[in-house]
Amino acid sequence: MKLHEYQAKEVFADAGIPTPESALATSVDEAVEVADALDYPVAVKAQVHVGGRGKAGGIKLAENTAEAREAAESILGMDLKGYTVDRVLVEEAVDFTNELYVGVTMDRSEGAPVVMVSERGGVDIESVAEEAPEDIVREHVDPSFGLQAYQARNAVYDAGIEQDVAGDVAKIVQGVYDLWADSDATEVEINPVMVTSERDVVAADAVMKLDEDALFRQPAFADMEEDAAEDDLEAKANEYGFDYVRLDGNTGIIGNGAGLVMTTLDLVDYYGGQPANFLDIGGGAKADRVANALDMVFSDENVDSVVFNIFGGITRGDEVARGINSALEQFDEIPTPVVVRLAGTNAAEGREILNDDLVTVEETLEGAVQRAVEYADEEDIQ
């Protein structure tokens, strides 16, 4: 779960990490009002989960009210790489001399958090990581101890941060790590940390991604989930608690177990179809969960057929079959053909339970995928 910049900055401010004065606006008038209440110049920043907002016209500077109105008018409602901008953050522009980078993420290969600091902030940090990895100082953290103060200092001094601001940057590093740990984040990133002409340091941008598996103990972040969602289907998937990724094909895919669902997508592609989505109903899926999964996939209007692929371990075939039957029985007309393939625990029972009037039953994965791709092609032609 990724927060919007404005959400992350509120969280930063609460955690004592310095951020520029700012406020959210959802209309042009509101944006102008906010801008007037701040000190000009201000930046008007589109709040969408898209990289490179600046280059794409999603961030504009304004020196006065007229420019603020112009900026808000041009950004609000604009299409930014497929997303419509409905919120802008209006923020005091910072007069800076340097741009630094500070980030914390989980290094999966070490099984431990890593703190990153670089003097080369303000640019795409992943390019820096590729071209000049030595320009990013990495300090691994023992998660049982947490980041020690000396580690923050080591990272900052080794990154070559100037001595007069090093202490303040180290404080931001500690603050970012503590926030990362306290909020069950997977990633917290400030790019750039700006060093102002008065030699203060301030978080000019804010990226914060949270561990969805830990939201149960992070009520404040769970409350932000709805506002953080990128589109309606994603919001619906959150509501249902599904692992769902939307793609741009027309063969809907439901399965259990991430590897098998990914493989089903790969097979749809392999047999000439286009996967419409990834949807894992997870282990031990009950009937209502199955019904919700069908609702999810049918909600995507691009979908022309659905392949339902279950290999039971923790998930029992009879339950899945009952879920499919009861979900499809709700429809006067089933939106698209549904191909079902059951294997594993209680699969035989499941296949017996399935209603052949509602679904096409296939014995093999390859057969099921090929049949679904055929159906999708046929629907597409009609």
Binding site: N256, G257, A258, D269
Partner: protein, 289 residues
């Protein structure tokens, strides 16, 4: 022969009084696994699936001499259950639970480095030595004893491949699900080492997926250290970057590491054939045997 588990393994099931815990304990026992106890705080003294339940893993181990545990505990409590099992100590802990917060797992991983216990998972289907024992939730009926080892990051994908193998009469020494989380106790190399050392394992199937660089590391290991032939499969060729494909660990980073292409070519470079479909993996194994 087999690796890690056999019919001597004495298993305690953590979470045995829950719905899934009870169901799978029964399934394990039905399969022939030597399940000797359950452990659930506050439920000590009960009997579930025909075995006694204890309040703590330690009490179960002391009373029933268990040497392995299966963790079938909800995610909010699972890291604590794994900690408990690691500190008991046991030889093997199999963590089935999906959805353990990643920061909890980082702490478990640190503790793991301080003990001698092997951890499988979390977010894994478990391990099975066909005809002897299964620790986890794998559907026993699809497996058959034989000479192919199997290691996989995905549960259901494992079943899919095993189904194809068994249908051709190709049995398995042991099948190991290592789990789909970014931080797991046993990785590909650990499992491959065990299979390489097992005289009965004549070929190995390795099912990887996008995310991380464990498959690339395994390819290098295979190239340098393995005589036993390996056939591979990589799920997630069609996954877009930056999206978590179900498994917390299955994500191609924005900068393009962890892609299926990278893994497939690393494996190919190590001489490992990588099938396009699960059926092709079975074909490859038949050729390698």
């Amino acid at each position: 022969m087999s690796i890690l588990v056999d019919d001597d393994t004495r298993v305690v099931v953590q979470g045995i009084t829950g719905g899934e815990g009870k169901f799978h304990a029964e399934q394990m026992i039905e399969y022939g696994t030597n399940v000797v106890a359950g452990a659930v705080p506050g439920k000590g003294g009960q009997e579930v699936a025909g075995v006694p339940v204890y309040d703590t893993v330690n009490q179960a181990v002391v009373a029933e001499n268990a040497d392995a545990s299966v963790v079938l505990v909800p995610p909010a409590f699972a890291a604590d259950a794994v900690f408990e099992a690691l500190d008991t100590p046991l030889d093997l802990v199999v963590a089935i639970t999906e959805g353990i917060p990643s920061q909890d797992m980082a702490k478990v991983y640190k503790r793991l480095s301080e003990v001698d216990t092997r951890l499988l998972g979390p977010n894994c289907p478990g391990i099975i030595t066909p005809g002897e024992a299964k620790l986890g939730i794998l559907p026993g009926n699809i497996f058959e004893a034989g000479n192919v080892g199997l290691v996989s990051r995905s549960g259901t994908l494992t079943y899919q491949v095993v189904d194809s193998l068994t249908a051709r009469g190709v049995g398995q020494t042991t099948a190991i699900g290592i789990g789909g989380d970014p931080i797991i106790g046993t990785d590909f190399i650990d499992a491959l080492e065990l299979f390489e050392a097992d005289p009965d394992t004549e070929a190995v199937v390795m099912c990887g997926e996008i995310g991380g660089e464990d498959e690339e590391a395994a390819a290098a290991y295979i190239d340098e250290h393995m005589d036993t032939p390996v056939a591979g499969f990589i799920a997630g060729r069609t996954a877009p970057p930056g999206k978590r494909m179900g498994h917390a660990g299955a994500i191609v980073s924005g900068s393009g590491t962890g892609t299926a292409d990278s893994k497939i070519s690393a494996l190919n470079d190590a001489g490992v054939p990588v099938g396009d479909t699960p059926e092709e993996v079975a074909d490859d194994i038949e050729e390698l045997l």
